[in-house]
Each structure stands twice: as structure tokens, then as C-alpha cells.
Assembly symmetry: C2
């Protein structure tokens, strides 16, 4: 079914992570995160907020007495866990885990209603209010996540039970929503089902699911506005605050204008990038140029105007939302882990639309910075918000900084991020390459072994790299027979110098041309051919576009794909009193107590003296600074030692 | 009654403003603000939010049909207007205005209940709920403002009607509140009555009012906490959000611990400084050393750790509150006009407690910056929030900046600030001097004529100055007879060089000693003696204490008491791309279109170039800057031209 599409993904079952950076993450997820989340979903983590998620399904299935607990979208946590389990089982069998999952799937099947409907909140609490508040209540969102889980579990195990459940539910949704008279001409307040239906279509080959996804995308934002009609119909009240009768701001849900007219990322950041992902899917599968154009405009708006250096998005806590171009405050940042994951997913889908290295650049940027910063070493503590600076006292005492947790939390009542991280890390291997009939694209550098059928042959790619600590990448090809083919290696935008060789022979500039961010190697490949890409990875001092007012006069430190930050543990308190010397040399050092192989960066700078202030708060300017060392660690590793200040954007001299 | 006090204020009727900076403000208030506010209180300003304030009194008086409108503390707007009218009438007779005021006082008298109770909200809307929610409902706050009005009007006109009304109400309050059994052992959620009762005591000589004030101060914050008991009693609900059952944070109301134990300014900033003002009054009048100690600790905490350079306070919109030491964010600042006024009032009361130039310094700082910035040239537009930086697009599109209005508003539904400004400006002349039997203190430099009876003689002080544009001050003494006496002139903390002469003869260092921030001139004074103080007033580049993270690496510009700021009108968009050159020369220029005599400051600096960014958001650091002029205008004048960006703290080189 993927055939219509020019660019294709590689099935999870065809890729295996090899020893290295992300293999460790994958193992952490398998060994700790999935079991820990299982405990969390079953409310067995002491001192953590209760989930109720499994309980809800059991009650809805008639297997347990009790009431619905948790948030209206609690079902989705089970879905994301099951999805991660699917990916995990496709990487390595685990009969015990599979048994757990099968059991949960039993509950889910039993919780499904006669007509196919499935949602424990509405089944248990408001059976008469199904489909009456699409804007607030996440029914289709939860459905979407369960569809993703069903596809993942089916692909991993071949077991159809959950897939069948979700096809029945999709058919029911298809009977309820659409342009036809008598159907609801609506769509969900939290996009997700759009991309999920595409997965269901790919797994089953049923075009009706593709069409339903396309319907949700086409309908969104049309006049008269569905959410406003729905709001009037239910007496102008909000699910979250029934006494609030203000007209809802439908741009929060990206429903202010039809999606093809949207050019600026707006509203709730996770919703936005999930929608854009679905749009990119449909654009690719239906060759819809107007949709592709909208995707590109939205992409460009995000990455050139609304994205933190860490690949995070969401400039405000209020609505967990985008704000506007160049508004990237560090102190009141939101940058939710889920939003970074959503941007990654959007980027991946853009690689299926057109050849452009920028998509892989941003996947890499988000992945190594704002995504994995969401989880602690222990696999049991998580950030929902990924701040750009932390002053623990402000988090405690300034209400406008309260959303910034200075330490990772055990679990959240609204636990979208931890299971989202788990499913991404468990499926990461499918994002390394894409391919077409004549070209393989390497988007990510991760030690792995992948098998691709293309150009009438089977191609095995064995990739080896010390990424992100080292810029060397070695890719060995395994072939049945000699073949003419193109291998395109993404040259990251951070990389300013690199060498490439094939079988030890350096490529000349003419032979290896940089096109759209890829180094293209076209040749007659033989079995055992080896490409070596050596990217120089110096420490760089980075600045922001001058329109980013929050970073004016400030710089950050990067090395390769990694953004670095300062922590109080290394630099003492009051990080804002430090300024980095432009032109300083940097020393790299393997840092004990952080992570195997992790490199810290030490440079020279200055510290404003706080002596001679004599209890005054303001005084005529005196340059009183001491020379000092400044030590930075990778951003994704912050908050793994003592609680303290953290800073990404620092002053400079 | 003032006799017990070492330091005394000068009665309003004894001081007259002369032509100069504040005389113009006073005339603006008389000519425009008071009449405009009269229209506002009567709901006759088109397009402005409705006040209902006069309407409410008329309805409560039985003179008009209708319902209560506006906020629970709407009565206080009428009180503040009447207070300003009193001050105005004491400056210049105005029969028409006096007639208006007398009429309003009629309504007020008629609205008073049999037992003395007076509050239109409770009388009209919740007659059975009087005194049941002291924490939220401002009954004593409104009473306090009306007491201030009554005293002002009585002092100006000799008319006792409102004074009598308020004495009756005070007596009623005295019968309801107190330590005795059967009385409410409570106090108001919004402090104000404490300082107002002191005024009532001073006007009437009735010690019971002083004692009642002292009771409110002594009771506050004791265990068990009154507000929590009250909250439990009313079913744990909040007036502002009845469905919110969270336990209230009583530090918001400075009621978390007894006031004598408080050392850090906390909670709602206006409430806080009104309380501290009352505490300082009681400390002075009752020679209460423990209370004085608390006042000094709170004062020091504010001015050395929690005050913006403009003399503004309140670091967060949420709760309009203090946050914690050195937390002075510029982007999410609150700095309400009323809070600056409250800090001014607190400072003045501290001058009555001890000799220390810092109090006058802060009065001056707040007055010339965050207070008068609250009002536009036209006398009809006002800021509630006084920001330290403005990016109009952020005010519009980032919810966390929404409280920052980029242009002054016509009127507010919660209109505390405009009438507060009016009453302060109309009574400013009483804050210029304080005195004791042997010393006169000059705290503020404002052209004026004051008459003081001290040391057995009448002393007339004619002050002339071009302040704040010019640092020259001339004070001529008028005396009946030669007298030995001390004149202490505050040497502002911004002043690093000055010369003083008496009758043209320069004073030597020995003769004129600087003590506690005052230059002390002790001599045998003769009628016609003239002191000339010449303070050098260079442009200064100012920095913040390094612990103020928000200002790290930034500077601001001051000249004399004035904080300067950059505006887009003068410097083009994106002010954050500018950096001031340390060591630049500055040019002063009289600026057309701002205010007569207003001086702009132009210096040299740099502008980060936004060329060659090629649609990227981040890039390796390149120093690409152009030389540019940077022009600053006085902060208090910002927002009087085109809507645009504004910035106080700027980068530097």
C-alpha cells in the first residue's frame, strides 16, 4: 500500500539497533520504563499521582467494580503503553510482557460497546454525552492512540484482536462522522486520529480509513465553525470549566481556518504537530499539492521562527501553546516533551514528502535535546516541561514559573509525556532511513542494522557510529548482487567540514555532491562496500536570530547535535552572572557521574563580582568581573544531579 | 496630637506648589483628571468600562432605582475622588467642585445605615453577609478610604458631615471588632483602614481610633489564623470563585505570621505597603520599638531586594504580588501604579520614624518614575501595570504578557490606580518637608512655599528648582526673628557631587556635614537667608545587583532621579538588538512633542545586524553589528507617542 508513495519508511521489524547510545535507551525502556509504566497504570507507584487507567478499562469491561478515575483522556495512556510494548516485542520477544498486553487487550475488547464505541470515560461516566463535546473531550484522540497501539501490536505479534477492535471502532466512527447528511460534520479537539487512521489504512489496506482521515483534515476549520456550533448546542459551556461561558478560541485547536490556508503554527503545540503529521501523511499518500504546500509553510514557520534551539516548541504554559514569531522566552518557556516528539513525527513525515535534509536535522535536534531530556537516567522520572533556564526558587515562589519543575517527577496525573517517550524510543529504529526505488536516505546516525528491499534487491545497511559524541559514521552494505543505486547521507546543518570515503578511497567534491542537505553517492555498489563519513564536531558558540528578543546578547554552546547547558553543580549559584568569552578554547572531558561517554565542555569566561555592593540593588556601572572557567554539560542530561540552577542561553564577552 | 511624635508633617494648607514640574501635574489633575474621573464615576465616558460607583451610592441612599454595579470595592473609587477633591479645594477654592462633592456626601450620608454601617455592595446585594468574609470583601478597606476622604474634605473645607459619617462608622466598627468576647477577632483582607484610622485620630483627637488601628495591626497573623477560621465558617469557599475550595494562602494578605515577626515583603504588593504604612504610623505614634524594627526590616527587604529601578514593586501579575529576593523579571513584571504610590506613602511614614535620606530617595524614585508613568499627558489615560519592557505583539499574543498594556487605557472597571494617582498628586505638597522642634528636613525638591511653626517661630521656606531636569535647588527662608535652627537637605543617593552655599558663600566640608543622607546646616538663620544646593546631574549608566538574574549583562540609563527608557519611536523596532557602549558620551536635548522641558539622552551604541541570517533561527556566533545612536527618554513619559516597543534594561558593550 505504501507503493503510491515515492518515499518509504523501513518496517520496524527490518531494523535492529546495535550497541550504542540509543540501544541503551531502548534497553532502559524495555528493562525499566515499560514495567514501571505498567505499575503506574495499575496505581502501584507509591507517592505518585494515581493513574486509574487500567482500572477504568476493567470497570468498563465489567471485570471490576468502581468508578472512572483520572482525566477524560486517561485511556490514551494505556494505548501508548501498548504501542510501546508492540515496538518492544518487535525488537525482542518477551512472553511475560506479551501476556500482560494480551490481558489488557482482553479488557479493551470487553470494554468495547456493541456498536464498536470504545471510551471508558463516556461509557462509565457520561454514556448519554458521547460525541457531544468533540472540542474538549478527546474521544477521537483516545481512539487514535488505540489505533496506533493496535497497528504496532499487530505488526509485532501478528495478533489481530486489538486491530479488529479498532477497525470496528473506526467503522463506527466512519458511520458517525462525515459530510453526509445525518452525520456529525465535526472533528476532534485534539488531533491524533488523522495520523492514526493512516496507520490503520497501511496495516489493513482499507481505503475507507484513509478517506476518513482525509475527511477529518479537509473538514477542519471550515465555516461555519464546527466547534462554535457544538459549543452553542451544549449551552455555551466548557467541559473543563462549566461556568466559563466565553467563546472558545478555536485557533487553540487549529480550527480557525481550513488547514490548507494555515501558514503559521498556532495554538496547543502538541495538537498542532499531530495535525501537521496527519496532513503530511495525507499529502504524501494522495499526492495533494495544496496540502503539501501548507505542510511546508507550517514547517518553515516552526523551524525558522517558533522553535527553541533544543528542537522544543510551545512558548507558553498558558494553553501549552505556540505564541508568535520569534517569541521564545526562556523564563516562561513550556516546551513540552510530547510537543518535541510531535515535531519529530511531523519531521519524519516530511521526509516522505520531499528530499530535504532539514527534516532530519530537526528530528536530530529534537531527539538529542528536548526529547530525551524528558526522562531521567533511572527511567522512572520525567519532565513534562523542558525549561531553558531554571532558578529553583523561582519555580517555587513565582507563580509564573511554577510550571517549571526543577527536578524530574515520578509520574503525572496527566501522564502524556512518559509513555510518549517510551513509544518513540522503542520505535526509533524505523526513523533512521527512508528509501525510494533508486535511493536510500540516511536521516539519523544510530548504530543499527537495517534491511531494505529496493531496486529489485535486498540491501543490508550496517551502520556504526559514536554519535552524538563523535562525528564518525561507517555504513557497510550487504548485497545479493552488484547494483547501481544512490545512497544519500544527511550532512547535518551543524557540520561545516566532513570527509567521505568509499572503501577507504576519499571522495572528491565532484563525486560526492551536496544536494538538499544530502551528500549523494551514486555508484555501482558491491557487497561489503563501506562508506565512511567523518564529520568534524568542534564546540560551537551559537547565537539566535536578533529578532528573538529573549536571547539578545546571549549565546549558547553546541557540539554536533547536542545543545549544552550550565548547571549550578558545576558552576556554582547564579549562572546569569557568568559570561562566556568569545574566542575561548574549549576542553572536552568525559564526565563521571552523568552517562557513559558523556562529554562536558569547559571554556573560559567571566563572573560578575557581587562584592562591594554594600546592600544596594542598583549602582552606577562598574566592570567588576573575575576570570572563571565555565563548564557545560549536554542539555539532555540536566537535572540528573543535585537540584539547582540551569541555563542554556548565557551572556558573552 | 502630633506632639508625641518626634518628626512631623506639614499641613497641606501650609504648603503651596509654585510654578514648575509638579504644579503642572497638580493643575492637570484639577483641570482634567478630577472632572474626568467625575464623569467616569457617573458612567459618562464613552467606550470606557462602566464604574457604577455614584449610582451605587444613589441607589443605597434611596435616591435612584437599580442594582449594585461594579466590583465589591467600588465605593473606594468615590472615596479616592473625594479625597483628591479635598486636597484640591485646600489648594484652590472651586465652588462648583465643592458643590459636586457636597452632593456626593449627601448620598453617602443617606446610604449610611442606622447603626453606622456603610458599604453599598453589602447594603444592596448581601445585607445578611456583612462582616462574614473579611478576607475577600474589602469592607474595612472601603471604610478606610472613605475615612481618608472625610479627613481630607474636613481639613480643606471645615465641613464635618462626611467626617461625622465616618466617625459613626468607625464607632460601629469599633463595636464589632476587637479582642473582647463577642467581637470579631479579625481584620481586613486588604489593609488600608489601619492608616486611615490614624488619620481619623489625628483629625479628631479621639484615641479610640488610634487604638482600633493598633488592634488591627496587633491582631494580624496571630494563631489560630482568623482568615482560615473565617474560611471554614463560610464553607471553605472564596468570594471570587465560590467553587474554589483550596485553602487560601494568607501570606497574600500578610496574615501568615504576626506583623512584628515579618521581615520579608510578601503577598499582594498594594496590601503589603498599605499595611506597612499603618505599622509605621502606629510605631511612630506609640513609640513601639518592635513595630519600628519590623518596619525597617520590611523596608530594607523591599528596597534592597524586591524593588524595580523605577521604584515599582510587584514582580508578578499573579496575585499582583511580591515574589522573592532579587526576582525582578522585566517581561512578566507587574509594578502596579497603586503599589508604587503605597511604597511612597510607606516611605513618607518612615521619615516620621527616623532620620534617613533613603526614605526620601525612594519617594523620589517612585514618584518620578513608576508613579507618574501611570498617567498620560492628557490626564485621561492610565497604566495600571507599569512594565519594564514592552513588545506590543507579545502583549497581544503571549497570554503571559497580556497584562502588559502597550498603551494607556481610558478607565478601568477596577479603577484603583487613576484616582489613587489623583489624590497623591493633589497632596504631594505635604510630603516635601518634615520637621521637629529643632530641624527641618527637605525630602523632595519641588518649587513651593511652605510655612512651618517650629522652635517657637514661624519659618517660611520658598523653594525654587528646575528638578528633575536640573539639579539646582534654592531655598529662601522667611523668619520673624533670627533663630538658631538646623536645615537638613537630602542629598539624593544618585548625587555624587554637589556644592552648597548660604547667602552666596560656599559651605566647607566641615560646616556642611552629610549625616544619614542629609546635608545638615546648623546656624543662626536670618530672614531672607538663602541656601543654594547645586547637584551635578550627569547621565549615569546603571547596573543591577548581580543576583537580579533578569538584568544580568544589562544596563539602564538614569539622570538624576529619572530612569530613562528606549522607545521604538526613536530607535526603530527590536530594541533588544541594541547595546549601549560603556563610556559613550551623552547628548542632552530638549525633546519636542513630549513635555515642556523634557530632555532626551542620546548616546552611542551598536545594533546587531539581521542581515545574512538567511531564514535560519540559530547559527554559529558572528559579531555583526553596526554603530548606531541610541536615544532614551524619561521612563515616565513612555507610551505617549506611537504604540511600539519600550525597554528599560538594555544590553551593553
Amino acid at each position: 500500500m505504501d507503493n503510491m508513495n515515492q518515499y518509504r519508511t523501513v518496517g520496524l521489524e527490518k531494523v535492529e539497533l546495535k550497541e550504542g547510545f540509543f540501544r541503551e535507551y531502548q534497553e532502559l525502556v524495555q528493562r525499566v520504563v515499560i514495567p514501571y509504566q505498567w505499575e503506574a497504570l495499575n496505581d502501584r507507584i507509591p507517592e505518585a499521582e494515581k493513574s486509574y487507567a487500567i482500572h477504568n478499562f476493567k470497570v468498563a469491561a465489567g471485570l471490576e467494580e468502581g468508578e472512572f478515575g483520572g482525566l477524560v483522556f486517561q485511556d490514551s495512556d494505556v494505548a501508548k503503553w501498548l504501542e510501546a510494548v508492540g515496538y518492544s516485542l518487535s525488537a525482542a520477544p518477551d512472553p511475560e510482557l506479551e501476556k500482560q498486553a494480551d490481558e489488557v487487550i482482553e479488557y479493551i475488547e470487553k470494554a468495547q460497546q456493541e456498536d464498536g464505541y470504545l471510551n471508558t470515560f463516556f461509557t462509565l461516566k457520561r454514556p448519554k454525552e458521547k460525541w457531544t463535546n468533540l472540542m474538549d473531550c478527546h474521544e477521537l484522540y483516545c481512539a487514535g492512540h488505540m489505533m496506533e497501539a493496535a497497528v504496532a501490536y499487530y505488526n509485532a505479534t501478528g495478533k489481530r484482536k486489538l486491530l479488529d477492535v479498532m477497525c470496528r471502532f473506526a467503522d463506527h466512527i466512519n458511520s458517525v462522522f462525515g459530510t453526509e447528511e445525518g452525520k456529525i460534520h465535526g472533528y476532534d479537539g485534539h488531533e491524533e486520529i488523522e495520523l492514526a487512521l493512516v496507520k490503520l489504512y497501511k496495516a489493513t489496506g482499507e481505503e475507507k480509513y484513509l478517506n476518513l482521515s482525509k475527511y477529518f483534515i479537509d473538514e477542519r476549520g471550515k465555516e461555519p465553525n464546527f466547534f462554535l456550533l457544538e459549543w452553542e448546542k451544549r449551552g455555551k459551556s466548557s467541559f473543563w470549566n462549566p461556568s466559563d461561558h466565553r467563546q472558545p478560541e478555536v485557533s487553540y485547536n487549529q480550527a480557525h481556518i481550513p488547514v490548507r490556508e494555515q501558514t503559521e503554527a498556532i495554538g496547543h503545540a502538541v495538537r498542532a504537530v499531530y495535525l501537521y503529521s496527519g496532513m503530511a501523511d495525507i499529502a504524501a499518500l494522495t499526492k495533494d499539492e495544496s496540502l503539501k504546500k501548507a505542510c511546508k509553510a507550517l514547517w518553515n514557520n516552526i523551524v525558522t521562527k517558533q522553535m527553541y534551539i533544543t528542537g522544543g516548541i510551545g512558548s507558553t504554559h498558558s494553553g501549552e501553546a505556540f505564541t508568535f514569531d520569534y517569541d521564545l522566552p526562556n523564563d516562561t518557556v513550556y516546551q513540552e516533551t510530547c510537543a518535541s516528539i510531535g515535531l519529530f513525527l511531523f519531521a519524519h513525515r516530511m521526509t516522505l514528502l520531499e528530499e530535504n535534509g532539514s527534516y532530519g536535522d530537526i528530528m536530530e535536534r529534537a531527539l538529542y535535546n528536548s526529547i530525551i531530556s524528558g526522562m531521567g537516567f533511572d527511567g522512572k522520572s520525567f519532565f513534562y516541561v523542558n525549561p531553558m533556564e531554571v532558578w529553583p526558587k523561582a519555580s517555587e515562589k513565582n507563580p509564573e514559573r511554577k510550571h517549571v519543575a526543577p527536578v524530574r517527577q515520578k509520574w503525572y496525573g496527566c501522564a502524556c509525556c512518559p509513555p510518549n517517550l517510551a513509544r518513540l524510543l522503542m520505535s526509533l529504529r524505523q526513523y533512521i532511513y527512508t528509501y525510494s526505488e533508486d535511493t536510500i536516505y540516511a536521516h539519523l546516525y544510530i548504530p543499527s542494522k537495517a534491511e531494505i528491499e529496493a531496486g529489485g534487491s535486498k540491501i543490508i545497511l550496517e551502520q556504526n557510529t559514536g554519535y552524538p559524541w563523535d562525528g564518525g559514521v561507517r555504513i557497510k552494505l550487504g548485497l545479493n548482487k552488484e547494483m547501481e543505486y544512490t545512497l544519500k547521507l544527511r550532512i547535518p546543518s551543524w557540520c561545516r567540514k566532513y570527509q567521505v570515503s568509499v572503501n577507504g578511497e576519499a571522495m572528491t567534491a565532484e563525486a560526492g555532491q551536496l544536494e538538499n542537505g544530502f551528500l549523494s553517492i551514486h555508484r555501482n555498489w558491491c557487497d561489503g562496500d563501506e562508506v565512511v563519513l567523518q564529520m568534524e564536531m568542534p564546540v560551537e558558540i551559537i547565537q539566535s536570530h536578533p529578532e528573538v528578543r529573549a536571547n539578545a546578547g546571549k549565546v549558547s554552546i553546541m557540539r554536533g547535535p547536542l545543545v549544552y547547558c550550565l548547571e549550578e553543580t558545576d558552576n556554582g549559584p547564579n549562572l546569569s552572572a557568568l559570561s562566556l568569552e568569545i574566542g575561548t578554547g574549549f576542553e572536552l572531558k568525559e564526565e563521571a557521574g552523568l552517562m557513559k561517554g558523556a562529554l562536558s565542555i569547559t571554556g573560559q569566561g567571566f563572573r560578575i563580582s557581587d562584592k562591594e555592593w554594600n546592600h544596594s540593588l542598583y549602582r552606577p556601572f562598574k566592570a567588576e568581573e573575575e576570570k572563571t572557567e565555565i563548564k557545560a554539560i549536554p542539555y539532555f542530561l540536566w537535572g540528573n544531579r543535585d537540584k539547582g540552577e540551569m541555563l542554556v542561553w548565557m551572556n558573552h564577552k
